[in-house]
Amino acid sequence: MEILRTENLCKTYGSGETRVDALKNVNISINEGEFVAVVGPSGSGKSTLLHLLGGVDKPTSGKVFVDDVDIYNLNEKQLAIFRRRKVGFVFQFYNLIPVLTAEENILLPILLDNKKPDRAYIKELLDLLGLQDRRNHLPSELSGGQQQRVSIGRALAYKPSIILADEPTGNLDSKNSREILDLLKISVKRYNQTLMVITHDVDIAAQADRVVTIEDGIISKDEVIAI
């Protein structure tokens, strides 16, 4: 069942001589529960695509449908709620709020919704992430791998239907990388989530259901990997 679809998605930076076409008429459709790896050289437009799918950037033209809703037709507030509830972001540089503890960082999307967090679920999440004894630490007191786990926790806190990860292991050693990816995979399985990961890591790409290659702003390859 399709959860995500783009229609002629274009993104252009600058104009005139300095004009860069980051994405050129990209059409892609992703099904619920799919694990998609996006690969390609630097500057090919991978991150731009991910940002546009997650509703943090604005396309120059074209549309993005999530559950058949055109997300760029939403106003600022609706878009914020969309991000809060439907999408979980995982970044290469973790991007945690430095003044909040690990647990508070994870709870943030729920708190922004003025909702009471489901304590049992959060405990389960902390256990899953192995952060139970680190929950009251500030980001500055955590290692890189731990910080990335917090950011995954934050992405999963609201049980979003889509998780978008931009080189989640780019800053980690191989042991930590493996653990992070395992976590992501366990989570999508357990909660039937869709996962899209940008990566340079061949190992990670090899574990995906589908590998999409982007070059010069267009999808040059789209392979479904048979299990």
């Binding site: 709620i81 991007n95 709020i97 708190l111 919704d113 003025n114 934050r154």
Partner: protein
């Protein structure tokens, strides 16, 4: 954490320094506003107290009320307090002696005492300053003005019984005379003879030999009002609101009004304590003159602007610093409104801490200032107690809140607009900047080196940050210039009238035929060792005839009275003053000369005068009127002068204008009654005035000399020749100097606080500017810039900021100081306006220095950290 809004307090706690800076900014501005408000309220309170002391604690008097209506008024709804007085009659104290008649040929035949009965409430609320004894307690007791005892037979003391003929005073036609006028040929009609026991002596408002009618106060029993007699009922109402209407309503309901022949409006015999009413009225604007309100508003606006600058900068920078964090919040789904709320809630929390502290420290600061001011024993401010007014607290708190919210609103909106993408790009604010290509300047590189060039480019590369920094420095410089020059003007304005008043003033009444005695006194005074200068002069009023082309048309338009003076094609001004000085005195007036020169020979030969064309002018609208030139004579013009009341009835004399002075050096600087002041030698004065008697002397002492020789001489002089009187102004002069000190304490306090606000602002902007660029500075070091090079670059930046800010700040500050000059002087050019170079210099040097300093501190911190750590650092 239960709520995302708790982020607010986390941020505040983490950014302790900025939080503190912002709170200090809030405290300072709220404290300043509170202290100004407290000062105004306290001054009003003092004025009310003084007014009550001077005029009595009542609102209105129902005059000549028949006895049967008295209690109706007293019991009327809305009347809070009341008191009764009654005129008992006029008693004769003594006959005028021949000597006295010689001094004033117009004097009445007797010295009188107007006897008034006061009930115990009246004795309570009306101002009586007892010098000795006690207040009267029954109708046989009386208190008198202390100095009149000398005129009574046997010079009675307290406890003595006096017998007074009581009656009324009428003129030749049989009309009763009012209590404050007298006539040479008036008649006393005796009605009764009464005996009174003197129980006390009180100080009258004025004690003067020429006061022929004085006051005596006896007791009035308000339980036994005499039928068919008239009483004055003093009332104090519950509220001063609509008091005129309310009192008239009382009079109406009691039939206490009548119709005059020529008017259809009823006439009410009610007198009001207008000044007290005006002071007690809710609106403050009635009793403060416009220029003071102008200054107050101006100051409060300056304070608000400067605080907004500080707080806005603090918030703006803290938002800039957190761009990526707000971006993350947006990524995880915070709406713009939620982020706006986070920033606004920060503002709210800071206000919650800062405003109460500000309110109390404002009042506290005033109390500290008053403590020192009271030590100076300055008469004008004695009796001033700090009144803590809830109104001031509320208004200051509201102004403070509005200020903080106005300052936070912009940054909050900006924070709400931060795109989520800024977070995922993970670059802090660095890439947010749009780099303008900046032309390379070979000149700057040669002159300042590569560091200087980078510094210059750094300034230019981010317009927004450049503007914020320069703006905050400009604000600081402008505030300093405006306030310090304002202070100078206030000091000058408060000093300007007291400088030339001298330490002793001596008058001689009745010098007719004894001019040689005056000359001797003059010479004696001059020869006293401690005397620096003696002015010896005669003064009389004179009429001048001014042709239409010499009268100032602006004066004619403004004055309420000018048309009275117009006679055909000329104006006959009546109230001019003519001074005749000892020749050598005139040379001392040279500094005041605006045009022409002072040439004694020419003055004597050509009937020359020096004139002051500026005068107080009454427009009939404002109570204090304005000061302006009323005529525009030029050097060489002739004026036709007639002495008023000249005994020899001399004809017009033509005098020639040989000099024009800024103001009169002695007595009032300008004519108080729409006239010209003419100053000349005694010779010329004599030829116009004819006789030459009743001179004045003004003695200026040498600084820090003993005054005893002068005091002794004057005492002996008065003992020997009682026609001389003198005033010891030394005390007064000291008080005036103290006044200047008191005012400077206030003003320096304000300047200090304003300087502090300004410095805070600069520290805040410059230091964060650098902290934001930690990464970049480390990068410069990584590629080989030395620590000194970085320092030089940063100092150069501060220097550039200082130069640019001083240009703008100097211009704007000078403009403001000019405006303030006009507020303070109200167009009276007592002293000329000059560009406040000193303040400009101090403020720009100060601002640049603070900018340099505030750059070095964060630089040291950056330097202490590892280069690579700094480069890795996020945000």
């Amino acid at each position: 954490m239960r709520d995302y809004r708790e982020l607010t307090s986390r941020y505040l706690k983490v950014q302790k320094k900025r939080t503190l800076l912002t709170i200090i900014g809030i405290i300072l501005s709220v404290a300043l506003i509170t202290s100004i408000g407290t000062m105004v309220i306290s001054a009003r309170d003092m004025m009310i107290k003084n007014e009550i002391e001077r005029n009595g604690d009542y609102h209105a008097i129902f005059l000549d009320t028949p006895s049967d209506k008295v209690n109706n008024i007293k019991n009327y709804v809305g009347v809070e307090n009341s008191a009764l007085t009654k005129t008992i009659g006029t008693g004769i104290l003594a006959q005028i002696t021949d000597d006295e008649r010689q001094q004033n040929p117009e004097s009445p035949p007797y010295r009188y005492v107007n006897i008034k009965g006061y009930d115990k409430d009246a004795l309570d609320i009306l101002p009586i300053t007892l010098k000795e004894g006690r207040l009267p307690q029954d109708e046989e007791e009386i208190i008198l003005e202390y100095w009149v005892a000398d005129y009574l037979p046997n010079n009675p003391k307290i406890g003595d019984i006096i017998t007074l003929p009581i009656g009324i005073r009428i003129d030749e036609e049989g009309n009763q005379l009012s209590s404050n006028s007298y006539m040479k040929n008036e008649i006393f009609e005796e009605k009764d003879i009464r005996k009174y026991t003197i129980v006390g002596f009180f100080e009258p408002k004025f004690a003067w030999v020429g006061q022929y009618i004085t006051t005596g106060i006896t007791f009035l029993d308000n339980d036994n009002l005499t039928l068919d007699e008239e009483y004055n009922v003093y009332v104090k109402m519950d509220s001063v609101k609509d008091i005129h209407e309310n009192t008239k309503k009382i009079a109406q309901s009691l039939d206490l009004y009548q119709y005059m022949e020529d008017s259809s409006e009823p006439y009410y015999n009610i007198e009001y304590n207008e000044r007290l009413l005006r002071l007690s009225a809710q609106s403050l604007d009635m009793d403060l003159n416009n220029s003071l309100i102008g200054i107050l508003i101006f100051i409060v606006i300056l304070i608000i602007v400067s605080t907004i600058a500080v707080i806005y900068n603090a918030f703006h920078i803290s938002v800039l610093e957190r761009i990526s964090q707000f971006g993350i919040l947006r990524c995880v789904g915070a709406s713009p409104a939620q982020i706006r709320n986070i920033v606004l809630k920060e503002a709210w929390k800071l206000s919650l801490i800062g405003i109460p502290i500000g309110l109390f420290s404002g009042v506290f600061a005033m109390q500290v200032v008053m403590f020192f001011v009271n030590k100076l024993n300055y008469r004008l401010l004695s009796g001033l107690t700090i009144v803590v007014s809830p109104l001031v607290f509320i208004v200051s708190a509201i102004i403070g809140l509005i200020t903080v919210f106005l300052s936070a609103l912009g940054p909050a909106k900006q924070a709400g607009k931060i795109p989520a993408l800024d977070a995922v790009r993970n670059t802090g604010s660095l890439k947010k900047e749009s780099f303008d290509k900046i032309k390379r300047s070979a000149f700057s590189r040669k002159l300042l080196g590569i560091e200087g060039e980078i510094a210059y480019k750094n300034l230019r590369r981010n317009r927004k940050r450049f503007r914020i920094t320069v703006f905050s420095m400009i604000i600081s410089i402008v505030l300093y210039i405006a306030f310090s020059s304002f202070m100078t003007y206030m000091l000058k304005a408060s000093n300007v009238h007291s400088e030339e008043m001298g330490d002793f003033m001596i008058w001689h009444n009745g010098s007719l035929g004894r001019e040689d005695l005056d000359d001797t006194v003059y010479r004696d005074l001059k020869d006293l060792p401690d005397v620096e200068e003696v002015f010896y002069y005669h003064r009389y009023s004179a009429q001048i005839i001014v042709p239409q082309n010499k009268i100032n048309s602006g004066y004619v338009k403004t004055s309420h009275y000018a048309h009275h003076y117009k006679k055909g094609h000329v104006y006959e001004l009546d109230n001019n003053l003519l001074y005749g000085y000892e020749q050598e005195n005139l040379n001392a007036f040279k500094p005041l000369l605006k045009k022409g020169n002072i040439d004694i020979d020419a003055i004597n030969k050509e009937n020359g005068v020096l004139i002051v064309q500026t005068s107080h002018v009454y427009d009939g609208k404002s109570s204090n009127g304005t000061i302006m030139d009323i005529v525009n004579y030029e050097i060489g013009d002739e004026i036709s002068v007639t002495a008023n009341f000249s005994e020899e009835n001399l004809d017009d004399t033509k005098v020639k204008v040989l000099g024009i002075l800024d103001m009169s050096p002695i007595e009032d600087p300008y004519n108080l009654n729409e006239g010209v002041i003419m100053i000349t030698t005694k010779e010329v004065y004599d030829s116009i005035q004819g006789t030459n008697y009743n001179p004045s002397f003004l003695v200026k002492c040498k600084k820090d000399h003993s005054l005893e020789s002068i005091r002794q001489y004057l005492k002996d002089l008065v003992d020997m020749h009682p026609t001389y009187t003198y005033m010891d102004r030394v005390q007064l002069a000291q008080e005036e100097r103290n006044a200047a000190t008191a005012i400077s304490i206030f003003l320096y306090g304000f300047v200090a606080v304003i300087t502090l606000i300004g410095s805070l602002n600069i520290i805040n902007t410059i230091s964060t500017n650098l902290i934001l660029r930690t990464k970049e500075l480390s990068m410069l070091k990584a590629i080989g810039m030395t620590q000194n090079g970085v320092k030089r670059m940063v100092s150069m930046e501060a220097l550039f900021y200082g130069i640019i800010a001083s240009i703008y700040g100097g211009i704007i500050g000078t403009g403001l100081s000019y405006l303030l000059y006009h507020f303070v002087t109200q167009g009276i050019q007592d002293f000329p306006w000059t560009i406040p170079w000193n303040s400009i210099l101090v403020s720009t040097a100060g601002a640049t220095f603070i900018a340099l300093m505030s750059g070095f501190l964060p630089l040291r911190r950056i330097n202490n950290n590892n280069i690579v750590d700094n480069m890795r650092m996020e945000e």
